[in-house]
Symmetry: C2
Subunit: 98 residues, 2 copies
């Protein structure tokens, strides 16, 4: 499938995981070309926010970083981010996406 | 959110990643309570199939393992599975799910 997917793990500063997840969820609700922005936490990983994203294409993902709501969310989240890693993935199937 | 999510990494025997992804995608297309069954591959991880699932609840996920199509997919995939790990996750937000 020609969709563009990313999976990332964003580490919050101690005690701020839920706040970080909240910020990421709110700022990314309506982004052109975004088919999925799944924000999850792991009971066994106290400081990590896990994000799985699916986009129509890589360009839409790149463009989203300039959206006011996304820029504001990144600015708000930055002070409580201790680290992050992510990678682009290929989508084989995605039953369930709207 | 009360949704139930899982993320797993299933290792195929050498050279069988795409076949494994195909089997997993086909066998899991219509499962009651399944909101997302995202099958992905990682260009940097030649043998791995990455699955992100979201379910209405844990019981629906458990029940799916008894579905004929899922049982058939597991039986077909088992010979080309070299290993697997997975974990249950909590969903904070999931814009994009149908």
């Amino acid at each position: 499938m020609a969709l563009y997917a990313r999976q990332g793990r964003i580490l919050a500063t101690t005690g701020n995981r839920d706040r970080l997840a909240e910020i990421l969820s709110a700022g990314t609700a309506a982004m052109p070309g975004c088919r999925l922005y799944l924000v999850m936490t792991d009971p066994a990983d106290a400081d990590a926010v896990l994000v799985t994203e699916v986009w129509d294409n890589e360009a839409d993902h790149a463009a989203s970083l300039a959206l006011p709501a996304v820029r504001a969310a990144i600015a708000e989240a930055r002070p409580i981010i201790a680290g992050m890693d992510g990678r682009a993935l290929s989508v084989v199937a995605a039953p369930g996406l709207a």
